[in-house]
């Protein structure tokens, strides 16, 4: 009887809890958001800051796209350059001098006008050595910028940025850069409001309070409203924005959700309009249902394996090429990943007016031949190498599959090793690996972002591979004035890269995420570029 009384009590309590939860009208955040033009977005991770000169991550970038605007902006529909703070610009014949004319209407979120001098100040700040800006190198195409950043000169007047007058900015380059306008859209070129930054610290001081919502001044379509770490960051429409008429949303809420599974559940429960990333294993299901929210599009990025050429027998190009030839890429993309990824038989993803001719196809017979030539007929005497990857389910599954392929096709045994992200980076950088999983996501929409990585002195070339001819071709491409000629140099370079095989491309990324059908004017694209202008919400019937 006491048992009864107790269970009755528990039941009553549970009932009360549930009722209190359900009695509320049960309108989801998405439904309310649709009415009030408030967009709820999953944003991957907690931003470390919103300062465009001290941050490197994609979550930060997504927020900065709302809070700041560069000289130019980019359409997310066509990926074409559009006016930003500058309404127009001239480029000199030799491609060395750019002159930008600033929009008179362009204002900071506190109403101050934006001047050319502000850009000079901001770029100087971005290049101040003490700030430790990890993206400072993206400004290096400006004349003397690298020397200033590396403290070879101390006078910023020598750097090729000049405020001709209040509304005219002139930029001189070291050498012509065909994708310079593209670069200008990068967050390291965003202007920041000098008085605000100076009010809260030195220009080269990181993490000051200027990016707190109560202090923040920006120049984007939105401005910072509130920021609760690990909960939500809210931006609201900036009334001083020059193109405010085209800004249709009132607020955007960015949620730092790390786990794709959590994000997806939030989407299904009506708490998010857009999720940042749909977990690999969930994609086939949404595909087969033809779910209206699924957005799947090619990404300008490659998944590949790196060979450490300083480790024997990986110093032998025949061995590397044999390993690469015996990967059945189609099986990985079509039977295992099934998320729309394309098998990569070359390194640079097709796009930006370039598609490589060279190929590294699936050809196990040729692979066995090469391996025998290198002195390992039927894999005999081949040492046990290790595949290194950072801890993530998809990397693990791919490694397990490739391990099996090499065992079957070449009779070569490899072991697997997963390391936490930072350890993995340290191992790769220190050359402490045999074969390592890697991924490269384009910094800008041009094949150069992929191919200049393998220059002998390339900062991200961890393979130890170097090839004079390759370096020369990439150098020529940089100086080429004719686009066709430039692409031809890239073709030849890529052919060398695949033949010498310091890397084995595996697949081209596919970006899959969910966008609620009530979100209008949202364009998903290869560069994952977002332009919040023109996005609005419509309640579904």
């Amino acid at each position: 009887m006491t048992l009864q009384r107790y269970s009755r009590f528990i039941l009553a309590l549970a009932g009360a809890l549930l009722l209190s939860a359900c009695s509320d009208g049960q309108r989801t955040a998405v439904e309310i958001g649709n009415e009030q033009q408030i967009l709820h977005m999953g944003n991957g991770d907690e931003p470390s800051d919103v300062d465009p000169h001290t941050t490197v991550g994609i979550p930060e970038r997504q927020i900065q796209l709302a809070l700041f605007e560069g000289l130019v902006s980019k359409s997310s529909e066509t990926l074409e350059i559009e006016p930003g703070v500058a309404h127009s610009w001239d480029i000199s014949e030799d491609g060395l001098v750019y002159t930008f004319y600033l929009n008179e209407e362009a204002r900071w979120s506190n109403g101050d006008p934006i001047t050319a001098e502000h850009f000079v100040w901001s770029w100087r700040r971005a290049l101040l050595p003490g700030l430790g800006n990890q993206y400072a190198y993206s400004l290096y195409s400006i004349k003397n910028a690298e020397d200033f950043h590396r403290e070879r000169i101390s006078d910023f007047d020598e750097v090729g940025v000049t405020a001709v007058d209040e509304r005219t900015l002139r930029i001189e380059l070291e050498s012509p850069v065909p994708y310079f306008l593209e670069l200008l859209e990068h967050h390291s070129f965003y202007p920041v409001h000098p008085p605000t930054i100076e009010q809260f610290g030195r220009p080269d001081q990181r993490g000051t309070r200027w990016t707190r919502p109560e202090n923040f001044v920006g120049n984007g379509a939105f401005t910072l409203k509130s920021w609760e770490p690990n909960r939500v960051l809210v931006v609201e429409k900036n009334p001083h924005y020059w193109d405010a008429d085209r800004v249709l949303l009132n607020e955007i809420h960015f949620y730092p959700v790390q786990q794709p599974a959590t994000e997806e559940r939030m989407f299904r429960a009506g708490q998010l309009h857009i999720i940042n990333l749909l977990a690999e294993e969930r994609v086939p299901r949404y595909k087969s249902e033809e779910h209206p929210a699924l957005r799947s599009f090619a990404n300008y990025a490659t998944y590949y394996y790196e060979f450490n050429t300083r480790v024997e027998p990986l110093g032998d190009p025949r061995v590397r090429r044999a390993l690469s030839l015996s990967i059945n890429r189609e099986q990985i993309t079509d039977q295992m990943l099934r998320g729309g990824q394309r098998p990569a038989e070359h390194f640079t993803p097709p796009g930006a007016g370039y598609e490589a001719r060279a190929r590294v196809p699936y050809n196990p017979e040729k692979a066995r031949e090469l391996l025998a030539e290198a002195g390992y007929p039927n894999g005999q005497g081949f040492p046990t190498l290790t595949i290194l990857y950072n801890t993530l389910d998809v990397h693990e599954r791919i490694a397990v599959v490739i391990q099996q392929m090499w065992r079957q096709e070449l009779n070569v045994n490899v072991t697997l090793r997963n390391q936490d992200w930072r350890v993995y980076l340290a191992s790769k950088r220190g050359g402490d690996y045999h074969i390592a999983r890697s991924g490269w996501v384009a910094d800008y929409y041009d094949p150069n972002t992929f191919l200049d990585m393998f220059l002998s002195d390339g900062g991200n070339n961890d393979t130890g591979w170097s090839n004079e001819r390759y370096d020369e071709l990439i150098g020529r491409a940089a100086r080429a004035e004719d686009t066709e000629q430039r692409m031809e140099y890239f073709q030849q370079a890529e052919a060398i890269l695949l033949e010498e095989a310091p890397i084995a491309p595996i697949y081209f990324y596919q970006y899959n995420h969910l966008v609620s059908p009530s979100v209008r004017g949202w364009h998903s694209n290869v560069m994952k570029h977002v332009n919040y202008k023109g996005v609005y919400l419509e309640s579904q019937p």
Binding site: E281, Q335, M336, L392, D393, A399, V401, Q403, N418, D420
Partner: protein, 297 residues
């Protein structure tokens, strides 16, 4: 059944008199649930030992064409996303998880009981010093430590044993000490002291046997919590190195796929749960059986 005697015989309580052992056995045999559990665990241990011979496939065998398939005649428990046989992977996982569970718990049990009983019984300064050491270790945030250690040294079985064993003995020591503190004030101990028995003899013959109930209860709780800790590490990606599997890694894979391929979660989770239930029921049975004061009705 022979195995149970052996198992219980390792408990210190049984060293002394045969009548106690016989009583305990008698009581244990009366508890059907505990017997069934013991049988199940024995079977599981046997299966784990024989896995390489009875597993239907090799644990790394894949079949990408097949992919994740539901249970069938070829694959009784279905396959995972790489087309690997689930039954095989669970069998191998059982080996790993049981090993982690038993070895780490044995480490914890050995250190914890000795430490706690000694501290509690001796009392005074010794107790103070010993429990202060436990406090120091307690105050170390172990989650971070295990993560840092696996990060520095890479995750290996030995590290898992040591790290988990090092965490779990502390609670054991505290519980034993608490229990001993209560017991030692009871009349029969005071009588033993009055009779001039040596301290060590008192600890061995009276204190440990009387504290054995809670120790067993806690041990049966420790094995599952160790198995859970391993699964937590697997969830963080710090568990066992692939292509090997443990229950933890299988379950964390299963959770990811629970809506698409429910069998990937159900079977490993079921194996884990049933094992944990069995461990608990057996622990109960042993507790009741070993408690010298339990009523003899």
């Amino acid at each position: 059944m022979q195995r149970i005697t052996e198992q219980t015989a390792t408990e210190p309580v049984l060293e002394e008199g045969s009548s106690l052992t016989r009583d305990a056995m008698h009581r244990l045999f009366k508890n059907r649930l505990a017997l069934v559990s013991a049988g199940f665990l024995l079977l599981l241990i046997l299966v784990a030992l024989l896995t390489p011979w009875i597993a239907p496939y090799a644990y790394q065998d894949q079949n990408l064409l097949l992919g994740a398939s539901s249970p069938s005649a070829q694959h009784w428990l279905g396959t995972d996303t790489l087309g690997r046989d689930q039954l095989t992977r669970i069998l191998y996982g059982t080996r790993v998880s049981l090993m982690v569970g038993f070895v780490a718990t044995a480490v914890a049990l050995g250190i914890g009981v000795l430490w706690g009983a000694t501290a509690g019984y001796l009392g005074g300064r010794v107790d103070n010093a010993m429990m202060r050491i436990v406090d120091v270790l307690y105050a170390l945030p172990f989650a971070i430590f295990i993560i840092l250690l696996t990060v520095i040294f890479g995750s290996s079985m030995l590290l898992l044993f040591l790290a988990i064993g090092a965490v779990e003995w502390l609670t054991m020591a505290r519980i034993v000490r608490g229990q001993v503190l209560t017991i030692k004030r009871q009349e029969y101990i005071e009588a033993a002291i009055a009779m001039g028995l040596s301290r060590w003899r008192i600890i061995r013959r009276h204190v440990i046997p009387n504290a054995v109930g809670p120790i067993i209860v806690y041990t049966t709780l420790t094995i599952p919590s160790v198995i859970l800790l391993e699964s937590f590490l697997s969830f963080l990606g710090l568990g066992i190195q692939p292509p090997q599997s443990s229950w933890g890694s299988l379950i964390s894979d299963g959770v990811e796929n629970m809506e698409n391929y429910p069998w990937m979660l159900i079977f490993p989770a079921l194996t884990l749960s049933v094992t944990l239930f069995a461990l608990n029921f057996l622990g109960d049975g042993l507790r009741d059986a070993l408690d010298p004061r339990a009523s003899k009705d």
